[in-house]
């Protein structure tokens, strides 16, 4: 095993050696440096290998042949090995990335780079305080040099500000060190750690000075303007090193110091850390410069890790896993993003739209963001899971809340950035086409995924990257070059196969959802055959969503449930983002979904009581004081997916702007995930009281309100797809209402809605999508009279609206019938009034939908419109068949579920004798209804045909029109503002109060961020003053408290 000292020796030796080379031999110098960095990485890697594989323990490296504490010693443990590897690799890759610049700048720059890397490793390795200081100084000075690699003239000022700050830090650190030495008589960190005198003899203050100095080296918010300026102006490759390498090193130094400080200083670390995490993320909201944004984000991430270090008393031996997960994910992602920013010309966030058309880079971008946010399957995800569970178990809820809030802010601006990069019109500057720069970036991507795998393997919750559905989804990344038809077929086959594979393991409830989500998803995918080309990015996203859904249904424990939830959220986000003008809506969808996801996470954390392997079944055992809160958190989290009123504002845009075949997926299928969650929740926890309020009662009201508002809003839409989207809100409201009734028939009705809503909403979205595709508009008043041109689509819509309106004889009536029987036993009556109102309102928008599109007057520009493409029509027709069958024999699907629900609500089960379905109150015989109606209809129709056989078809405008003959469809087609009088009567209920509320919150955040960040005046002296102020304030708080 090569001694770790060689890492330092090689770095230094190479730095000195290239001094000997002639200025002309640039290539030689460059080669030597690369070789040195590679060698250093190799040494670290070998150590990682040995220590990780278990054989071999942390070793101390002595110098001067003298034992510590009398001589400086280094230590190489697993953490050190990993960090040095990270540092050296970052250095190596950055050196590769910087090739041209380094060639221009010559060997001085090379030497500086080498020393920077070497010194960062030194910070990690050394166990001696003063030696630590020396290495810090080296890093600081090297930074002062490397800043100048950038072409940006402003870097000069930034570098000077940085030096000023480091001067102040030096003063504090030295004074601290010398007094600590005086108090303990040693400079050895471990030596100090064991000695207790540090607290007496004024050692406490000495430690404070040292500790605060190290913290200041972490560029803590808000005393970090100097660092931000560096991040913004330095060469991206160096910013990468600064953010990935030196920040990690400094964090490790802080960790070592905490060994000395002991548990009394942990809260300080946590406090400063979490303050920085939230604050920096808040400030980043108002940031438009990409590199500065990344700087803010780095500060935030470092803060988070610091907070975790402060929790080590709680986390025990897992804290390395957690802190390491967050830290490495941050380092890789941040380095990658900085390198990526080197390829982009403009510095505005929107300039990243240059990446469009480079799928590989987009994928890298997405991976890095997912790494940062801590989405599965990346290390941050596992780490955050254990962290949050531990915090919840210990009841450190404030910290937990702040962490989740900060993470939400971060996700907000990162995904906004991503959306802008993908959807804004492509900027003209080309992406730098340097192959090795891309190689560097891609290696970072690979590292990220590799880390994800490792962390998955280390986590007790099992490795997500071994989950078959997820792998299947990821496999589509490899299939991207293939054409749509192949990929689509693979996808369909895969989903059906997975369904059949897992079929035996489902209970009836899971079976219903699985059928809807997997088989239904495959059915909708038929529509995707009508797209051409490769459709880059569609299949990985869609399959990711379906994988999430598939895993969600079968999830046994909270972790896999949450992981599945996150994956389906990400997948659907990418899907929705694909729409033409869907950027803002996709963003709000993502923010709401992640917000909901974090609430769910918090709920699990509360419930789990510190057990990361908490099972869903365990929800039932949660005890009284926290149970209602768990219930509340989880319920709200799930309701963000079902778009319950108040959390619904993301839905209309997201569903309306999505692509034709995506809308049915996200509407017909995705919404059901929320319902499934609620099912699981209610089954496990039943109903809970909070301050005497029955929470299910609350859900009743929310469901009823959603039904009312959703239907009402739908009636006033001009955009067909928005109309359908709003109606989804209403339908989910019904389902929620049914669930919240907490009785047998209520749940049955909810399930009925799961099936029905899936069928007719998918059908309607497909046919409306087809019409929109043909007519080139989604505004209904621009259409009209299409019945003769698109008969099949018309039939689909006709059947769809009859079913949805609940008019017999189609299946929608079954839902209504069950609903009436259910409410007869419900103890809460008032919310029903809302349901009663919203029922008829459905007719308004349904009639509007079919009338203004297919009936009325045909527009001139549509006279040549053809029927929708075959692949769009086919699934619709299949759905029609389903609806009719389901209308005739609802028992097929419902009987077993009915029996299944009986274990939760024994009373009130339905009777299924013969053709008639009987409840305690009434009866209903679908087939007889169908026959009776059919017979009457047929005979009357026959009679009409008989008396009216020679009726002749007349032209469009041949109507009784006050004696004259209209000729312009626009003026004759009554469609726009269809329900004007209704608006007069009830329009007040459609005031967008909820939108205003959320908009106000967002504006508040942005405004405060924009105002507060002026704290960074750009004056280096002011920065130094802030630095000092930070120290004094912390000191006062520390002594004051």
């Amino acid at each position: 095993m090569v001694s770790a000292i060689y890492i330092l020796a090689v770095g230094l030796g190479a730095a000195f050696l290239i001094g000997l080379l002639r200025d002309e031999w640039r290539a030689g110098a460059y080669g030597v440096s690369l070789a040195a960095l590679a060698l250093m990485s190799l040494i670290s890697a070998s150590w990682v290998w040995v220590l990780a594989s278990g054989d071999g323990r942390a070793v101390d490296i002595l110098t001067a042949g003298t034992l510590p504490p009398y001589a400086i010693n280094l230590r190489m443990g697993l953490a050190e090995a990993v960090l040095t590897l990270l540092i050296n690799l970052t250095g190596l890759l950055s050196a590769v990335y910087l090739r041209d610049t380094l060639f221009k700048q010559g060997r001085r720059a090379l030497a500086t780079l080498l020393v920077f890397t070497m010194a960062s490793c030194g910070i990690v390795l050394t166990r001696d305080l003063f030696n630590l200081f020396v290495f810090f100084e080296l890093v600081a000075i090297a930074t002062g040099g490397l800043v100048l690699l950038s072409r940006d003239q402003r870097a000069l000022a930034a570098g000077f500000k940085y030096l000023v700050a480091s001067q102040v830090i030096t003063v504090l650190l030295l004074v601290g060190i010398i007094f600590a030495y005086h108090a303990t008589g040693t400079l050895n960190i471990d030596g100090m750690a064991v000695l207790s005198e540090l607290v007496i003899k004024g050692g406490g203050l000495a430690f404070f000075l040292m500790f605060i100095a190290i913290l200041l080296d972490l560029k803590p918010f808000p005393a970090n303007g100097w660092a931000l300026d560096i991040y913004e102006s330095a060469h991206p490759a160096f910013s990468a090193m600064l953010s990935a390498a030196s920040a990690s090193a400094a964090l490790f130094a802080a960790d070592k110091l905490l060994l000395i400080g002991g548990s009394t200083w942990l809260p300080v670390a946590t406090g400063i850390g979490i303050f920085g995490f939230v604050g920096a993320n808040l400030f980043a909201l108002a940031q438009t410069n990409d590199r500065r944004l990344l700087g803010y984000s780095s500060v935030a991430q470092v803060g988070l890790v610091l907070a975790v270090l402060g929790q080590r008393d709680l986390l025990g031996d897992r804290y390395l896993f957690i802190a390491g997960g967050i830290l490495l994910a941050h380092a890789v992602a941040k380095a990658g993003l900085y390198w990526l920013s080197g390829l982009v010309e403009g510095r505005k966030l929107t300039a990243w739209s240059a990446l469009q058309g480079h799928p590989l880079l987009i994928f890298a971008f997405a991976s890095f963001i997912a790494l940062l946010v801590g989405l599965p399957p990346f290390p941050g995800f596992y780490a955050k899971w254990e962290l949050v569970i531990a915090l919840g178990g210990e009841g450190r809820l404030a910290l937990l809340g702040l962490i989740l809030f900060g993470a939400l802010l971060e996700a907000g601006y990162l995904f906004r950035w991503f959306g802008q990069a993908l959807k804004r019109e492509r900027s003209l500057e080309p992406v730098a086409a340097s192959s090795f720069k891309r190689a560097v970036i891609l290696s970072a991507v690979a590292a990220g995924w590799g880390l994800g795998f490792i962390w998955g393997a280390l986590s007790p919750n099992g490795n997500l990257l071994l989950a078959l559905p997820l792998l299947f989804a990821l496999a589509f990344l490899a299939l991207e070059p293939l054409s749509v038809r192949i990929k689509n077929s693979v996808a369909i086959v895969g989903m059906v196969a997975w369904f059949l594979l897992t079929l035996p393991s489902y209970d009836p409830l899971q079976l219903i959802f699985a059928a809807v989500m997997l088989l239904g998803g495959a059915l909708i995918l038929l529509a995707s055959y009508q797209t051409q080309g490769q459709r880059i990015g569609f299949y990985p996203s869609a399959m990711l969503m379906y994988a999430g859904l598939a895993m969600l249904i079968v999830a046994e424990d909270a972790f896999s449930f949450f992981a599945a939830w996150e994956s389906l959220t990400i997948g659907s986000y990418f899907l929705i983002l694909r729409g033409q003008r869907s950027e803002p809506h996709a963003l709000s969808y993502m923010v709401f979904s992640l917000g909901g996801a974090f609430l769910i996470l918090a709920g699990f954390a509360l419930a789990a009581g510190g057990d990361p392997l908490f099972t869903l079944a365990g929800l039932a055992k949660v005890a009284a004081p926290i149970a209602p809160w768990v219930f509340l958190l989880l319920a709200i989290g799930f309701m963000t997916k079902t778009a319950a009123v108040g959390l619904h504002i993301w839905l209309p845009g997201a569903h309306a702007e999505a692509e034709t075949d995506v809308s049915p997926m996200v509407s017909g299928i995705l919404l059901k995930a929320g319902l499934f969650g609620l099912f699981v929740l209610l089954m496990a926890m039943g109903s809970q009281q909070l301050y005497g309020v029955e929470l299910t009662h609350l859900l009743l009201w929310i469901g009823a309100l959603s039904a009312l508002i959703g239907n009402l809003m739908a009636a006033f839409q001009e955009d067909a797809k928005r109309l359908l989207a709003y109606s989804s809100i209403g339908q989910m409201g019904y389902a929620l209402f049914g669930l919240a009734m907490m009785n047998h028939l209520g749940w049955l009705m909810a399930l009925m809605f799961v099936i029905n809503h899936f069928i007719y909403k998918s059908m309607l979205f497909l046919s409306v999508g087809g019409v929109a595709k043909r007519t080139g508009t989604r505004d209904m008043y621009r259409m009209g009279g299409l019945i003769t041109l698109m008969p099949l689509s018309f039939i689909a819509v006709l059947i769809g609206i009859i079913a949805m309106s609940g008019v017999p004889p189609l299946s929608g009536f079954g839902g209504r019938w069950i609903f009436y029987n259910a409410i007869l036993t419900a103890e809460y009556r008032l919310p029903m009034i809302l349901i009663f109102i919203s029922g008829p309102i459905a007719f308004l928008y349904l009639f509007r939908l079919i009338h203004t599109i297919f009936l009325g007057q045909l527009k001139d520009e549509h006279r040549r419109v053809k029927e929708a493409p075959f692949w769009l029509v086919l699934p619709q027709m299949i759905f029609v068949a389903f609806l009719l069958v389901f209308a005739l024999v609802p028992g097929l699907a419902l009987r077993r579920v009915d029996a299944y629900i009986s274990q939760f609500h024994p009373e009130g089960a339905l009777g299924w004798e013969g053709l008639t379905i009987t409840s305690d109150f009434g009866y209903w015989s679908p087939i007889s209804i169908m026959i009776v109606v059919g017979v009457i209809f047929a005979s009357l129709f026959a009679w009409l045909v008989f008396v009216n056989r020679k009726a002749q078809k007349v032209k469009q405008f041949n109507i009784v029109f006050a004696g004259e003959r209209p000729f312009r469809p626009e003026t004759t087609h009554f469609a726009w503002n269809f329900f004007a009088p209704y608006r007069k009567a009830l329009g007040f209920m459609t005031e967008p109060l909820v939108e205003r509320f959320w908009a106000a919150i967002v504006d508040l955040l942005h405004a405060s961020a924009d105002l507060l960040r002026r704290l960074y005046t750009g004056n280096g002296q002011t920065y130094a003053i802030q630095l000092l102020a930070f120290v004094v304030v912390v000191y006062l708080l520390r002594t004051g408290l």
Partner: protein
């Protein structure tokens, strides 16, 4: 004795920082920082001082046997040396920066270099 030195050191630090934080002229700031550094070094030496003892050099005056009783703490002195050298390095670097800053904007007023902010 130790106290006087130490107090002087601290006062020097404060003076230095005051100068560095209030003078807008970059050169003055640099000088102020050197003052502060000097203060730090003074403090370090003062901490290592033991009353009535001599320099840690073993010669006729201080035989090896009595070293323990006769010499003052050598460690701070070693540290100070390092600290001084590092201080010199940083100062030189800052001076170089100051030169380039002046070259770029023809002024030495720190508040003139605010292109980067927020």
């Amino acid at each position: 004795m130790a106290y006087i030195a130490m107090t002087t050191g601290f006062v020097l630090i404060l003076i230095g920082l005051y100068g560095a934080l209030t003078n807008r002229n970059i050169l003055r700031m640099i000088v102020a920082f050197t003052v502060a550094n000097t203060g730090v070094n003074l403090v370090m030496v003062a901490v290592g001082y033991l009353h009535g003892r001599t320099a840690p050099i073993l010669d006729a005056a201080v035989p090896v046997a009595e070293a323990v009783e006769r010499i003052i703490d050598p460690v701070p002195q070693a540290l100070v040396l390092t600290a001084i050298v590092i201080g010199v390095g940083v100062t030189a670097l800052m001076l170089a920066y100051a030169y380039k800053l002046y070259e770029s904007k023809r002024t030495l007023d720190i508040s003139a270099f605010k292109d980067l902010k927020w």
